[in-house]
Symmetry: C2
Subunit: 296 residues, 2 copies
């Protein structure tokens, strides 16, 4: 598929348009919170999760328009989690996507509330999910809430926080749990919500799950590798932070070489998971290449 | 109704039981977050919102058991908002219901995440809403998300935060907006979700809305009055904080006497709103007396 970059372009635009229409305007009272929500959500993110959601719809032969609420909702969750992760009491980051973080611009109080508001509106938006024969609105809401809740997305952040600054290295299985929770869970839910919008069969939904988990883990390992090997300028965020805070990462635990091999193995697993889709899985396959074929 | 205290007792127990069953056990991995969620949710709160939710079901002739997800969900939202409001970057409170606040016990990072987790699980729980002829799961999710989102609950907190420490007094209409947003919106949603569980007619749902708004505003004004007139010990939280932080309140804006008259007027309006329920509204009427007949 030579047209991946035009695909990414058009889908990103579509998602941005949906987000603009779902979020209250920047002048809606109180203006501060609505400005802060937009500041972070329109900060030039790659829209990886919404694009995967829409690509899953395509792979399952559904209508992308029906999945726009799901695509927008996962991006709201992702953005809220970044705002809260960047807070001084968490990762304490001043820079995100090359711009000052929310609390640097609006203060900590408003940053906490902007995160809360994006988390809340994710469910307001997802309530627009169009039910299919197999999947109800309740199942979609539950899918997103579980993936972003205390047993997954938030749970991973808690373990991450507890590990930081600690002299005790995490076990490999604990580190895998963090990666699965922090990155893979929401990626997988994005794909599954796309599948659910397209009334995917249980077999296809399971294939999306395996693809998502492999992709998410590979992506996180590559991120950890790049944190070691790249400069802040190239990353658009502070580099070397993991090592500085004694955070357990794949490279810290296994070294760069073994981490690279594990990333490659998981990339392979992601591609294999797409077999049941046949030709229809080509876009997801191209996206895996695009996301994982970074200079690591 | 002489049996109000036994009613409150039994309904509070029922809600606590539901919350216990919906929340992950305290040993669920990662244990810290699940302990922190339970620490705040089982802190001896009055369960005002869930009880109002169940009383609305009764007033509309529905089955209370079907409303337990809604009752539990509103309590999760309320508790999350208290955890975040108490943070150092917000109201900076050390004491809540006579016990140390979440961030005092678990640290700021985990307190932010415990709030996030309770906010998220509220929607997971509400996804169990049993649809009725008039009200879908989507309408219930949307009801809760809007009331607790950036235009209401969170919006009120933003304005509150912006007003704090400021020398400029709020206008009466701005103060009313804060009260409506911070207190009345979630109270009203609790009642409406109860009504929706019971398939309430539009007329009854509207009556619950007016009752909720009046009750919520009266309650908030009385809270502000008590902050001026009572001791910390009696309140179970730090008293005199509003004045100390130059927060605009009804008493600060209008004086105690006028504030008391406004609280009484709103109490009257709450009772009047119950007319369409006839005898079935007696419990809601007794609850208004119970909540508003404090020593103010």
């Amino acid at each position: 598929m030579a047209d991946l970059s035009s695909y990414l372009n058009s889908r990103t635009k579509r998602v941005d348009q949906a987000l603009r229409s779902y979020l209250p305007g920047p002048k809606t009272r109180p203006a501060t919170i609505h400005e802060a929500m937009r500041y972070s959500i329109f900060a030039g993110g790659k829209r990886m999760r919404p694009v995967l959601c829409l690509a899953a719809v395509e792979a399952c032969g559904g209508d992308e328009a029906l999945a726009l609420p799901a695509a927008a909702a996962v991006e709201c969750i992702h953005t809220y989690s970044l705002i809260h992760d960047d807070l001084p009491c968490m990762d304490d980051d001043d820079l995100r996507r090359g711009r000052p973080t929310s609390h640097k611009v609006y203060g900590e109080g408003v940053a906490v509330l902007a995160g809360d508001a994006l988390l809340t509106i994710a469910f307001e938006i997802l309530a627009r999910f169009t039910p299919t024969k197999r999947y109800s609105v309740a199942s979609a809401i539950s899918e997103l809430a579980v993936a972003s809740g205390s047993r997954h997305l938030i749970g991973g952040q808690v373990l991450d926080l507890e590990g930081e600054g600690s002299e005790v290295k995490l076990t490999p299985s604990a580190l895998r749990y963090i990666h699965e929770s922090k990155t893979a869970a929401l990626l997988t839910a994005s794909l599954r919500l796309g599948g659910m919008s397209a009334n995917a069969t249980p077999t296809l939904l399971e294939a999306l799950t395996i693809y998502g988990r492999s992709l998410g883990l590979a992506f996180q390992i590559i991120d950890d590798i790049l944190d070691v090997t790249q400069t802040s300028e190239k990353l658009g965020k502070s580099a070397g932070k993991d090592a500085a805070s004694h955070k357990s990462t794949y490279p810290a635990l296994f070294g760069l070489e073994k981490s690279r091999r594990e990333a490659a193995r998981l990339t392979e697993a992601a591609h294999e998971a797409l077999t049941p889709f046949g030709k229809k899985g080509e876009r997801l396959s191209a996206l895996a290449d695009y996301l994982l074929d970074r200079d690591y």
